[in-house]
């Protein structure tokens, strides 16, 4: 299987350094549009879609491989291998991709210069002393929500016409396809994302890490951010004065500022 086609890999920019952007559950590589232009001058940026998201090849889906986040992490490593990258990359992961990046960096630490985690959570479900923010029943009700919305997301699965600058009306159609997901695989990805427990993996990460935590994030709360920071030995925690789970979309300027400072 050709990893580049499987994961719809796009390489943009011409900088000497490498930066890889990994989207979270619920969207695709397009979610990086607001921040991407700020990096393409100094970096060569690698974008991709996880299998089941965006324009990835859904036929590559393998239930067993993707039954844990490791399967997704091996995909990241396979993309790097397929691109024959010769120097360590800066990995930027949103939400669940923070953990996917962590797992990939544990497996092949030499391939990672830095990790940037936006809204990470190693485990979403409360357990004993650990506060993840959710109960198991909340996750089940999320899965119900996904099911009720099968139709809305499938509608966007219609064939996509790629953007064409000569014909601006096509751009709108492209826009309508952002964050499309195969409904069945979205359900699967949601389950794996929200039921994973990677708390034990955090202490095995050696890569220098930036944690971007929003002041108020309904999915990964402040306590979770502090928890991740405590267990990652080589990490820096930045609490941003922003609300929501996608600061790179709602407050792109602030995210770019923090990332530039960290990557220098």
């Amino acid at each position: 299987m050709d990893a580049l086609r499987r994961n719809n890999v796009k390489v943009v920019g011409s900088g000497e350094q490498l930066i890889m952007f990994a989207h979270g559950y619920g969207c695709d590589q397009n979610m990086w549009r607001p921040v991407l232009p700020s990096f393409t001058d100094k970096y060569t940026a690698i974008l991709f879609d996880y299998v089941g998201s965006g324009l990835s090849d859904s036929s590559a889906f393998d239930q067993t491989r993707y039954s844990t986040l490791r399967g997704y992490a091996w995909d990241v490593l396979e993309i790097l291998a397929a691109l024959k990258v010769e120097r360590p990359i800066n990995f930027v992961g949103h939400s669940v991709s923070s953990m996917i990046g962590a797992l990939a960096s544990i497996k092949e630490p030499g391939k990672f210069e830095t990790l940037t985690m936006i809204g990470p959570s190693p485990h979403y479900i409360n357990q004993g002393d650990y506060f993840g923010g959710f109960e198991r029943s909340d996750i089940d009700s999320l899965l119900d929500s996904l099911e009720s919305n099968h139709v809305a997301w499938s509608a966007a699965m219609a064939p996509v016409i790629m953007g064409n600058s000569d014909r601006p009306e096509l751009a709108q159609e492209l826009e309508a396809s952002f964050c499309r997901m195969d409904p069945f695989l979205a359900h699967h990805f949601a389950r794996v994302t929200f039921l994973s427990d990677n708390r034990d993996d955090l202490s095995r990460v050696d890569t220098r890490t930036l944690i971007l935590q929003c002041q108020s994030d309904a999915i990964a709360g402040l306590r979770v951010g502090h928890y991740v920071h405590k267990l990652l030995k080589n990490s820096e925690l930045v609490i941003m004065d922003a609300k929501g789970h996608c600061p790179h979309m709602s407050e792109p300027a602030a995210v770019v500022r923090e990332m530039r400072r960290f990557l220098q």
Binding site: G26, D138, I139, S141, L146, V151, F178
Partner: protein
């Protein structure tokens, strides 16, 4: 209307009525606070990023929390508005859809149920087919693929009759006539397997009628019954053998009395014989009669089933099994060595041990039609520290087996003896060995000049009843 952080900046009275809220109170709320936890996850992880990228979303299903704690199913159309002074605003149109959601839930449930049934059909090991009224195959499941070795592409569109051997075309067409009258029908026929071998199949067909007399389609469940048929045949054969055995044993029993009488008469006769020549004739007659008595006694013992383990002398058991073949061994110039005189008394089910040895000796004999050597050896061994056992070896210099034969040798119905063999001998042997907690191993070579087979069995010693373990 929401600001960029999701705080409600304006709402109409209808929205407040829907949620049972006082109008002014909505202004202190973030929209996500109106969602139950699961919906909140969906809202943050999927709805907001997608909305920001696409600019609008329509007919997204959410549940909103009512002031009284109940959940209200709604559909939401959303648009991002960049015209205001702030970053951006999100405009939401919210519709209550209680009835519709119930209907959708029912549809979803029905679809799931249907998918489960479809999955059952898809994975069934029986072939389950949908056919047109004319008998053309419309669907082809995994079972069909396995039985007939045809892909769905190759099978769909073909007539059902193409799966059967031509001899059965007629019974199929009369079955199809019955279907048209609305009757379920069942036929047994022969088809062709993936490998091209004829297989026994049972075909049961169910008509699907639309109105009286109007057959719109039918379904067929086809099962590969080759193994069942083989079993039936083998059972029949076995039953025949068993009754022959019973017959033999009752004959042996009946013979015993006259045999004893003749023995006594010969003894009396010998006392009255004076001349040497006649005496030697009588002695010869006595010796032959002894053999008859021996065979009769063993025929009886063979049939007697023991339900308890008893202590047996392996040398004599081995000897009596070999004795049954003695004449045939001599005729085929096979040299027999019974090397078990040193074996300790062994506790086992005697009848079963006899059957095991008989099966192995009979196989050895069959492989040495051109003569050879047969060794039956019993030895005390240590299975592992603290556990003694018995090793029984049957070795021949016969034709041996090739790798394929060796691999299948313990499979039921596998036979190299053509019509004469049931293919059950080694299968039963293995079963009997295991029943006596033993293991069986076969080494064989079919290279000319060095061919032969060695069967080695290991049995743990059993404590005899009443004895301390």
């Amino acid at each position: 209307m929401l600001d960029e952080e999701g705080e409600i900046s304006a709402s109409n009275p209808a929205f407040c009525r829907l949620l049972g809220l006082v109008e002014s109170s909505t202004l202190e709320l973030n929209f996500r606070d109106l969602l139950p936890m699961g919906g909140r996850l969906f809202y943050e992880a999927q709805f907001i990023p997608t909305l920001l990228l696409r600019g609008s979303l329509s007919e997204i299903a959410f549940d909103l929390k009512h002031a009284d704690g109940s959940h209200i199913p709604v559909l939401i159309n959303a648009r991002v508005d960049h015209t205001g002074p702030a970053h951006h605003q999100i405009l939401l149109a919210v519709f209550a859809v209680e009835q519709r959601r119930l209907y959708e839930k029912e549809l979803l449930r029905a679809r799931k149920e249907f998918e489960q049934i479809a999955e059952v059909v898809r994975r069934s090991s029986d072939a389950i087919l949908r056919l047109t009224a004319g008998g053309v195959i419309q669907s082809w499941n995994a079972g069909a693929q396995q039985i007939f070795g045809m892909s769905p592409e190759a099978a769909i569109g073909k007539p059902l009759s193409s799966l059967l051997l031509t001899a059965h075309t007629e019974s199929l067409s009369s079955a199809m006539e019955k279907l048209k009258e609305g009757q379920e029908t069942f036929i047994e026929a022969k088809g062709r397997s993936a490998l091209g071998n004829p297989i026994d199949i049972s075909v049961s067909m169910t008509p699907h009628m639309e109105a009286p007399g109007v057959l719109v389609a039918f379904s067929a469940i086809i099962r590969d019954v080759t193994t069942r048929k083989q079993t039936e045949r083998a059972l029949l054969q076995n039953e025949k053998l068993a009754s022959v055995g019973r017959l033999a044993s009752s004959i042996a029993h009946e013979i015993n009395n006259p045999l004893e009488a003749v023995t006594n008469l010969l003894y009396l006769l010998q006392l009255r014989v004076a001349d040497e020549e006649t005496n030697s004739l009588v002695t010869k007659a006595q010796r032959e009669l002894d053999r008859v008595a021996h065979i009769a006694a063993h025929t009886l013992r063979f049939h007697k089933q023991s339900s308890n383990r008893t202590q047996v002398d392996l040398h004599s058991v081995a000897g009596s099994v070999l004795a049954l073949y003695q004449v045939r061994f001599e005729n085929s110039s096979i040299k027999v060595i019974n090397d078990s005189v040193n074996a300790s008394p062994f506790v086992c089910f005697e009848g079963e041990l006899r059957q095991i040895l008989f099966n192995l000796v009979s196989n050895a004999f069959d492989s040495m039609r051109a003569g050879g050597r047969l060794v039956l050896r019993c030895r005390d061994v240590a299975l592992y520290p603290g556990r003694r056992g018995m090793r029984i070896t049957v070795a021949d210099t016969g034709s041996g087996m090739d790798r394929d034969t060796l691999r299948q040798v313990f499979e039921p119905f596998f036979s190299t003896k053509g019509i004469g063999g049931t293919g059950l001998g080694m299968w039963i042997t293995k079963d009997l060995v295991q029943k006596n907690e033993g293991t069986i191993r076969i080494r064989s070579c079919d290279r000319p000049g060095r061919s032969g087979t060695i069967v080695t069995m290991l049995f743990p010693n059993q404590p005899q009843k009443g004895q301390p373990t």
